[in-house]
């Protein structure tokens, strides 16, 4: 069993397929994510592919702040990814909400909705940093067993839901 286990773990590390979700980023981070695919950085060297379908993906790369509207979509996308999976929050906005943290319609960083494994700071994050982030995420992903090791959703998720449900009350009236 050990051999197959090792083979599986190696393969996981060598074949991370990313899905990139833009939560309302200013596109600065998005462009940097795509830059990783260009010949200059060529992440396919590490077996990394940019995939458009959460059902095929291993790593969810999220950029931008989370607001009540896209929180649901983000959560849904995350739910549709088969285990084992990891999440990387990209950029100042993705990690914490950035300069928009205090805005009335902003929940905060990605970790308010789904469990985040790696935070990549920067505004925007550099491609090298993003690649570094993926490598970090792979370490976590490597030994994760489906179903068993998924961390329970952060309590903030509940909060986010409440916020979403009560947003009428909190809307700014003109």
């Amino acid at each position: 069993m050990g051999f197959f286990q090792d083979l599986l773990h190696t393969s996981r590390v060598k074949s991370p397929w990313l899905i990139h979700f833009d939560c309302g980023s200013c596109n600065g981070c998005d462009i940097e994510v795509l830059a990783c695919l260009t010949p200059v950085y060529d992440v396919e060297r590490f077996g990394i592919l940019n995939i458009g379908n959460p059902k095929h993906a291993d790593i969810l790369v999220v950029s931008g702040t989370v607001n009540p509207r896209n929180a649901k979509a983000l959560k849904n996308i995350y739910d549709q990814m088969p285990d084992p999976k990891a999440v990387i929050a990209i950029g100042a906005c993705g990690t914490s909400g950035g300069v928009f943290r205090e805005a009335y319609n902003v929940l905060g960083g990605v970790d308010k909705v789904i469990p985040v494994d790696v935070y990549v700071p920067g505004c925007p994050s550099k491609p090298e940093a993003i690649i570094d982030g993926v490598v970090l995420a792979l370490e976590k992903l490597k030994k994760r067993r489906p179903e068993k090791d998924t961390e329970p959703l952060v309590a903030d998720l509940k909060k986010a839901r409440e916020f979403y449900e009560n947003r009428e009350d909190r809307q700014v009236t003109r």
């Binding site: 979700f21 379908n53 959460p54 059902k55 649901k72 979509a73 959560k75 849904n76 739910d79 549709q80």
Partner: protein, 644 residues
């Protein structure tokens, strides 16, 4: 029992039972239909024990059978004339007169009985046809008992018309059996006209405006074939040939003019088999209740047309005419497959697919090699079983969901799991290996390989066939897994029995195809051909150019299906993994994985709907039928010119 008695039972019993069916009492009718079905089925199976035989019945209930048939012939034609008069349809009247006058001339002045030889000739081919007619036909009639009850309930009729319905259904079985046993062409002609008449009466059974219109069209197109038939008989006699099928096949092609009447008989076969450009009557016939479509317009009556063409094939072997027949059949195969692709009406798909398959049988008869003939005979059997099964499924589905459109059958597996599984077997046996229909198609393609144009059309047509069947197969299963296992729908016993019997037969007979070939088809072929015959040994059918490893494929795929069923069994999956919603860009309802649709703008729940694309703008029926007919008429003219 002796073979002549069995043959007599197969023909006469349905005629007698049919008349009794006119007594419109339900228990009697059920008993008659089931009883007749069982007896003729057993008789057809018992008949297989005897080899090829031929004889002339001396008398039928003390009457000279030749005279009886002549009288009945004229009676039938005058009945049709009367109908034409009542409908004020000049075309049918003219076509009927065109048959009455030459037939009278033939009977009175041309001494039709000269050198007749045996009136009945039965070989393995006839036995195969008889089995198809008796067993598949009886199953359809039994199905009809339950179907018509529901049908009439739906129509809210004051008085039941089932007496008339089963009169024609059962009568038809007898007529078909008579048709395939007859060697005397006059007898064959009589049974031929009886089937035409049955078809007409059954299509207009519901007496709606459209039914009467389509029935009329079916009648005049078939009468066209009848006229050709009578003309062929007159020409045979004028050349001094006896009106015996076997004599004509084995006659030395001394006089080249023999091809003309043979060509006319083939023309009659083409009209009966609804080959292009006569396809419209068969499509129109789909207005009739489904058992009729299953019995007459897919599995048996239209097979009479191709039966005649196959019977005559040795008579024109090696001629240019033969190649034209192959081309004509291939055009029909391709044209009907294109038309089927543009349809979403389930019964019309089946109708066009039937025409398409009959086209392939005609093409095989035209190719005229032993391999092609084997393909033709086997295709008759397998097509009859699978297509009857499909028609019965569509009929059952239509009575349950109120639609015959295949788009409405989306996800039917959760609504009618039993019928859908049977339909899946029906579809798969129609177009995938290792089942018989594909085996015959494989034989046909290999046999046609020396005729590039024909093989091209067969290749394109078979790809089209795969598309429309595959599409249908897929959408039956389009569904999300429900919370509870879907409740199996209730099926009356008289519906379940024919469905199951046909489904089992479709699979089992495909499995015994090598045995069927060596015991039933090979003896017939050996009479006319001595080289390049297929040999079936140890489950592998092979000749000098190809081989089909039927049993290996069968065994591996059976094991594969068992494995796949185990792997996908829902119990295991629920334990191991989970069901999710389809991907809708993250806008699904996270609470319910069974809910289809997505959250649209302003938080409004939106359903999406997907449909197949039928390419109506490209190959819609109204768009291309004219062109296809034009091509077919062109080839038909060349073909009939090819007899000279």
């Amino acid at each position: 029992m002796l073979a002549p008695q069995l043959i007599g039972i197969s023909i006469a019993l349905p005629f007698i039972a049919a008349v009794l069916c006119l007594i419109n009492v339900k228990p009697l009718r059920s008993a008659l239909v089931i009883g007749t079905g069982v007896v003729v089925s057993v008789a057809s199976l018992a008949l297989v024990q005897s080899g090829a035989i031929s004889f002339t019945p001396e008398s039928f209930l003390g009457i000279n059978p030749d005279g009886l048939i002549a009288i009945l012939d004229f009676a039938l034609l005058f009945v049709i004339l009367g109908i034409a008069y009542r409908m004020k349809n000049k075309l049918i009247a003219v076509l009927t007169l065109l048959q009455i006058v030459p037939l009278a001339f033939l009977e009175l002045f041309m001494n039709p009985g000269e050198n007749m030889g045996p009136a009945i000739y039965v070989d393995q081919f006839s036995m195969i046809m008889c089995m198809v007619i008796s067993i598949v036909g009886s199953l359809i009639c039994v199905y009809g008992l339950a179907y018509m009850k529901e049908h009439e309930h739906h129509l809210k009729l004051a008085t039941s018309r089932q007496g008339r319905f089963f009169f024609f259904m059962v009568l038809f079985l007898g007529a078909m059996n008579g048709l395939v046993f007859s060697n005397n062409l006059l007898w064959l002609y009589f049974f031929w006209e009886v089937t035409t008449f049955c078809s007409f009466m059954l299509i207009k059974h519901d007496d709606t405006e459209i039914a009467v219109k389509n029935a009329t069209r079916a009648l005049w197109m078939n009468m066209l074939g009848g006229v050709a038939f009578v003309l062929a008989l007159v020409i045979f006699r004028s050349q001094g040939l006896p009106l015996s099928l076997q004599e004509i096949i084995t006659a030395e092609p001394a006089s080249k003019l023999i091809l003309l009447p043979v060509g006319l008989l083939c023309f009659a076969g083409f009209t009966k088999a609804a080959q292009l450009p006569f396809q419209s009557w068969l499509c129109g016939a789909m207005v009739a209740p489904t058992p009729i479509s299953a019995l007459l317009h897919s599995s048996t009556m239209v097979k009479a047309g191709v039966y005649l063409v196959i019977r005559l094939a040795p008579a024109f072997a090696g001629t240019v005419f033969s190649n034209y027949v192959a081309l004509f059949g291939a055009v029909t195969f391709l044209g009907a497959a294109v038309l089927a692709l543009s349809q979403s009406n389930g019964k019309k798909i089946l109708a066009y697919s039937t025409i398409s398959n009959l086209g392939m049988i005609v093409a095989c008869a035209g190719i005229n090699t032993p391999a092609a003939m084997a393909a033709a005979v086997l295709l008759i059997v397998f097509h009859a079983i699978s297509k009857a099964l499909m028609f019965l499924c569509v009929g059952t589905i239509e009575q349950h969901i109120g639609s015959r459109d295949i788009e409405d059958m989306r996800g039917l597996i959760n609504v009618m799991p039993r019928t859908t599984m049977v339909a899946v077997i029906g579809i798969v046996t129609m177009f995938l290996p290792p089942f018989g229909a594909l085996l015959s198609k494989w034989m046909a393609v290999e046999a046609s390989a020396h005729l590039p144009l024909v093989v091209l059309m067969l290749a394109v047509g078979s790809a089209l066939t795969m598309v429309f069947w595959g599409r249908w197969l897929g959408l039956l299963m389009t569904s999300v897994v429900p919370d509870k296992a879907p409740l199996a729908e209730s099926q009356p016993c008289l519906i379940r029995l024919p469905l199951l019997a046909l489904a089992v037969a479709a699979v089992l007979i495909s499995f015994v195809a090598p045995g069927l070939y060596s015991s039933m088809v090979l003896p017939v072929l050996e009479r006319f051909y001595d080289t390049d015959l297929y040999i079936a040994a140890r489950g592998v059918i092979s000749n000098n150019i190809g081989m089909f490893a039927l049993y290996p494929v069968f065994v591996v795929m059976t094991l594969g299906v068992i494995y796949a069923v185990r792997a996908s069994s829902s119990k295991r999956l629920i334990k191991r993994g989970n069901y999710v919603t389809p991907y809708v860009c993250g806008l699904q309802d996270p609470g319910d994985s069974r809910k289809l649709g997505f959250k649209g703008p302003l938080g409004v729940w939106a359903d999406f709907k997907t449909t197949n694309w039928y390419m109506e703008s490209l190959i819609g029926e109204s768009r291309i039928t004219g062109w296809i007919n034009l091509v077919a008429i062109g080839i038909l003219i060349i073909l009939l010119a090819g007899v000279f």
